[in-house]
């Protein structure tokens, strides 16, 4: 079997904030249309890793990065149009940030920034993304009210719709279910299974069972080090290679 070229390839990635190094040389690849889960206790560098993938790490003034991150074979450090890159790599943050505008404008924000002006196309996109994020039925009658007035769970789904609005090839979700109820979480997981046909999904989660339900492969990060990366069945099976993986997935520490 010939492996398809990696969608994301990370080589010896190190990140430090000031003098504190938080990622100690990670190397891994993510295949196209894979659901790739990253698990690990707090402070293990999961969010930092995601921030490297769409170059939002550079908003943090003292962050330093070494190593190479490639998306579609292209090294991110040399990407000319970082805005296009960020549209290609969608990001959903753990706590929803509804932009201070209407629901419609929230979802239409990224396409508009990319230059989409056609009203009909915007309408269609907004509807499609809100449907995909399982939010359409709840908000279709009030698209033109402020997005910040929605409840926490609805806002989270709004940010998911927003991340889908620019047709990303890679969708990164950073503990998306932190602010939503279990039923909605299940619905969104359903959506993710659907979406993987069109995109690659990187899922950071504290809920190890969520990784188990969704992911093809799971990576266990601990204190900025890659402890183990393997097919999800192996990670959650009885014999992962590393003892710490076994203990973490069974809730012995974390």
């Amino acid at each position: 079997m010939v492996n398809p070229p990696a969608k994301i390839a990370v080589e010896n990635l190190r990140v430090s904030y000031g003098h504190r190094e938080v990622l100690h040389g990670l190397s891994f690849t993510v295949a196209p249309n894979e659901i790739f889960a990253i698990i690990g206790p707090a402070q293990s560098g999961k969010t930092t890793l995601l921030r490297c993938l769409n170059r939002t790490l550079e908003f943090t003034p003292h962050a330093r990065l070494s190593g190479i991150v490639r998306v579609d074979g292209e090294a991110l450090a040399h990407v000319a149009d970082v805005h296009a890159l960020r549209r290609k790599v969608g990001m959903v943050a753990p706590l929803p940030v509804g932009l201070p505008m209407t629901i419609y404008d929230n979802v239409a924000f990224a396409p508009r920034c990319a230059g989409v002006r056609d009203r009909a196309e915007l309408d269609a996109r907004v509807e499609r993304c809100l449907r995909q994020a399982a939010l359409w039925d709840e908000v279709k009658d009030r698209l033109h009210t402020l997005g910040t007035r929605l409840s926490g769970g609805q806002q989270q789904r709004l940010t998911i719709a927003r991340a889908l609005s620019h047709d990303p090839e890679i969708l990164c979700l950073d503990e998306f279910s932190i602010a939503i109820d279990p039923v909605t979480t299940m619905r969104i997981e359903e959506v993710l299974r659907e979406l993987r046909r069109r995109m690659t999904i990187v899922l950071v989660t504290n809920l190890v069972q969520q990784a188990r339900r969704l992911a093809d492969r799971t990576m266990f990060l601990w204190n900025g080090e890659l402890v183990e990366l393997d097919r999800t069945e192996v990670i959650f099976g009885d014999q992962p290679r590393d003892r710490r993986t076994y203990e973490y997935t069974r809730g012995f520490f974390g």
């Binding site: 932009l99 201070p100 402020l146 620019h166």
Partner: protein, 307 residues
């Protein structure tokens, strides 16, 4: 039921502690209410001085006639139409110059500037705000006056344009510093969210930050307007102080404030002329009140539309 530790603490708090807290609370309350008290006090004082003249005035002529002959032996006339036009035109022109500059500078300082440059700019802008208005008047008389005469098609350098430039320079620092505060108050999470969606910095500014900070930015512009309407010394020195309707950018004009400043010292206390100057003061009050009211309505309108 047993007491929680907090309740125990509250019950055993010494008496003087509670008295002290009450006193501080009262003091702060007083500070808050004093603002209302002062505004009312100022208004009442100005009103008391001007009031005896109010019933005697022919309001149609006062508001519509430009003829201001307060000391005429034959026929005293108190027409302030030209001065109102002067005040409004110089303020409007000053704002046309100052608002784009001020808001632009506020956006630059807040969003595009970092480190040393930012600190230096903020200090310089604050210095600019601290220049006394009489010094601006000097600049108007000596520097801009000559520049306008040399480079612009104007017969006299002391005119509407000159004063508007000075007023613009005086209100820009206020607009910048208040506007910058307003932008700084927008949470960083908005910036990051917008940038993470692929927005450029400029798209972030005009699609997210400006709408989010609009109340604060409007307040900044209003304070600038307030400064321009109320400014006296600089406009007295730079407008040319000629009581006429402005017909072009380069006509000398006269403002309400400058008239009060120039004439109050020469009137007998209690005379009609003296009272008329206080009536002009009331008019200034009214103008600023209307400006504030309109802005307030505008803000509410914006809020209702998006809410």
């Amino acid at each position: 039921m047993s007491e929680t530790p907090l309740e125990t603490l509250r019950r055993h708090r010494p008496r003087w502690d509670r008295v002290g807290e009450r006193a501080v609370e009262g003091l702060i309350r007083l500070c808050g209410y004093s603002a209302i008290l002062f505004v009312l006090g100022i208004f009442l004082f100005v009103f008391r001085e001007g009031a005896p003249l109010l019933p005697k005035l022919d309001w149609g002529r006062v508001l519509l006639s430009p003829e201001w002959y307060p000391t005429s032996r034959m026929h005293v006339r108190y027409g302030v139409a030209a001065m109102i036009a002067g005040t409004l035109s110089v303020t409007a022109l000053a704002m046309v110059l100052a608002v784009p500059f001020g808001l632009g500078a506020a956006i630059f300082v807040s969003e595009f500037c970092t480190g040393r440059v930012k600190e230096t700019l903020k200090i310089v802008i604050e210095l600019l705000a601290a220049i006394p208005s009489i010094v601006w008047g000097f600049i108007g008389l000596s520097v801009t006056n000559r520049l306008i005469q040399t480079y612009l098609p104007a017969p006299v350098g002391l005119n509407l344009f000159n004063a508007a430039c000075l007023l613009a320079l005086m209100s820009v620092p206020i607009i910048v510093s208040i506007g910058e505060d307003a932008l700084k108050a927008v949470p960083d999470s908005y910036r990051e969210a917008a940038l993470a969606l692929g927005a450029t910095r400029w798209q972030t500014v005009y699609r997210v930050l400006l709408p989010a900070a609009r109340h604060g930015l409007l307040a900044a512009v209003l304070l600038g307007v307030g400064r321009a309407i109320g400014e006296t010394m600089a406009v007295l020195m730079a407008t040319g102080h000629a009581n006429q309707f402005p017909r072009s950018l380069f006509d000398p004009i006269r403002t309400l404030t400058a008239t009060i400043a120039a004439e109050l010292g020469e009137t007998a206390v209690g005379s009609d002329h003296y009272r008329m100057l206080f009536v002009i003061g009331l008019m200034l009050f009214t103008i600023t009140f209307i400006v504030n009211l309109l802005a307030d309505l505008a803000v509410r309108g914006v809020r209702n539309k998006t809410g």
